[in-house]
Subunit: 197 residues, 4 copies
């Protein structure tokens, strides 16, 4: 039998790992997700193809990892808490809108979304590693608001986040409308009205 070779992570070359992830990120920005090939990543990284196949199961996984790498060290995300929920959320939402408007984020973030839609395993990893911590921070802020009586005490916080963010994400993904600060504000106002105490 062809023994599912298990490489020994202890011997893994850190230098190669970084080179691969850096090359992956650069290529996604330059040519777009669909046109990135493992061959190109290996070549750009100065790495043998086998080294990639040894440590990652798919192109999507490599690129996903390259995003993960970016967000390392961003631990302890924390939302502003001035006591004024509406103001705080508008600050955050306006920042999100601005981020999406940045063309530098366009290619990689769209690539990330493609992977998530296409691959359930990556979707799981995304929720756990990337979205999870951020969502938790947001929910923490919402809980603080619940304690302050600015939000229905029995509101389903996951649902609140969906109502708040999903319209924005969809509009960006589908390019179905402009992403403006006013739009950010409107989403906050609507959400707060929907989940008012």
């Amino acid at each position: 039998m062809s023994q599912a070779r298990k490489p020994n992570p202890a011997r893994r070359s850190e230098r190669s790992r970084r080179a691969v992830l850096d090359a992956a990120r650069a290529l996604v920005s330059e040519v777009g997700y669909a046109k990135v090939s493992i061959e190109a990543i290996a070549s750009r990284a100065g790495v043998g193809k086998q080294t990639i196949y040894r440590w990652w199961p798919s192109k999507g996984a490599v690129i996903f990892d390259s995003f993960l790498e970016l967000s390392r060290g961003e631990d302890g995300v924390r939302l502003p808490d001035t006591g004024d929920l509406e103001a705080d959320l508008k600050t955050v939402m306006r920042a999100t809108v601005a981020e999406f408007a940045d063309p530098v984020f366009e290619a990689p973030v769209r690539a990330l979304n493609l992977e998530i839609v296409a691959d359930p395993a990556l979707a799981d990893a995304y929720r756990e590693k990337l979205a999870g911590p951020v969502d938790e921070a947001k929910k923490e802020r919402l809980r603080s608001a619940q304690r302050a009586g600015q939000l229905a005490a029995d509101a389903d916080l996951d649902l609140v986040l969906e109502v708040l963010y999903a319209p924005l994400h969809q509009r960006w993904l589908h390019r179905s409308g402009p992403l403006t600060p006013e739009y950010a504000d409107a989403l906050v106002e609507i959400t707060l009205r929907a989940f008012a105490p």
Copy 2:
């Protein structure tokens, strides 16, 4: 100069067109969007590859067109209007939830979403040809509700639709939570509260 040989649509073979679209639809269902190749479509359709390249710019466009074809004749979409907005919306939303739960729709609809995210041109076509008419029907129902005083008269109807549907779509796309009738109801209630007169 880029030549851009323009085929003469008058001579286009209707038989080939149908065969290609049918084959495309079948293959997406059978093997999934990513694994469908133009070669396979041509072969299945009993058509030369050139015939596909002559009339469609990309695999995505073929598959997109195959969806379009499905929804032809569905003109005059019309939402129920019993006078009770909440009940009507819940009916519609529950139906939507059920549709998304149907494994037969899984592959093609996910494929459609991948195309839209990846290709602006297809996103435009989607909004105009597929989403547009349906959205218009929904907005018609909402306008009726506005006249009946069940919805804020100044509500931005596009926004209402986003708040109503985007959470559902996102949950499905990201597989980030269960799609239940209760979830459908919850979205309707929240939306109505947010946009109450």
Copy 3:
């Protein structure tokens, strides 16, 4: 049954015929025999592909015909007859050598030879329509020499021509040596010695 359609030559368009042959000749010179396509000939000639397929059985036949066309009117080829066979033959052979050295003849004549080697039907046509008349003129000169006692009376004239020309043709076809006036002379001398009375 699919009736081997027999076109009516009476209705044939002379204008198209010329255009095709001219285009064929031009293309062989420009891109070489192998790279000439019927599609290109038709396009260059401003003629429908069917018109070519209607009147010629193959690409080779078209190109062959284009050579035939060139040699029309060259009727009554006649070799010089000064009474001195050796001098006359040297004149002719030197002219032949010079012709082969002309780069303008290179592509078409090589193409012609390729056709002849590859296609027995064209080889027959070649012998009958192109080589035949010329060979007959040569043999006429040789017969005159036989009468003058400069050549063995029982010499097989076809064989004489082969000994005279085949080495030259082969050297040119295989590029296996230089084609010089001295070479032409040498072939004449050898042949005359071989077939001396």
Copy 4:
């Protein structure tokens, strides 16, 4: 710049090389030179197309190589030397005539000639690798005859070979006459008369 990826011959797979050449030879015999495709060779050889393109520049080169392969080990070609030049040459020429009459040789040898006429590089390789050694053996026999006073001491041996063989080759290539033992004899006699001491 033209990149010109150079594969590393050290890593070349001998098994693939043989399989390709064997397949090429078989296909030429079966369907004829013109109808052999690289795709068919690769498929028959159980080899990726890229493996062919990596090591050979053209279909002609593959097929040519397949002939070369056949003649390996045929080193030390040597003509009979009974002391009687005329008898020896007739033996050899009759054998050559018989060879050309063999339908098994028809397709491949004609293919070889087409390549040589069409491609100067292959013509060079032909002269060096295939014709060269054989010609050298023939010239060796002729030198022996010169020493024995059966041939002019100052005869240009390349020319002798041309006069001897070119008529035969041409007759076969152009199918312009029958190849009989008598024809072989006649060529020998003529040549000996032409180059008599």
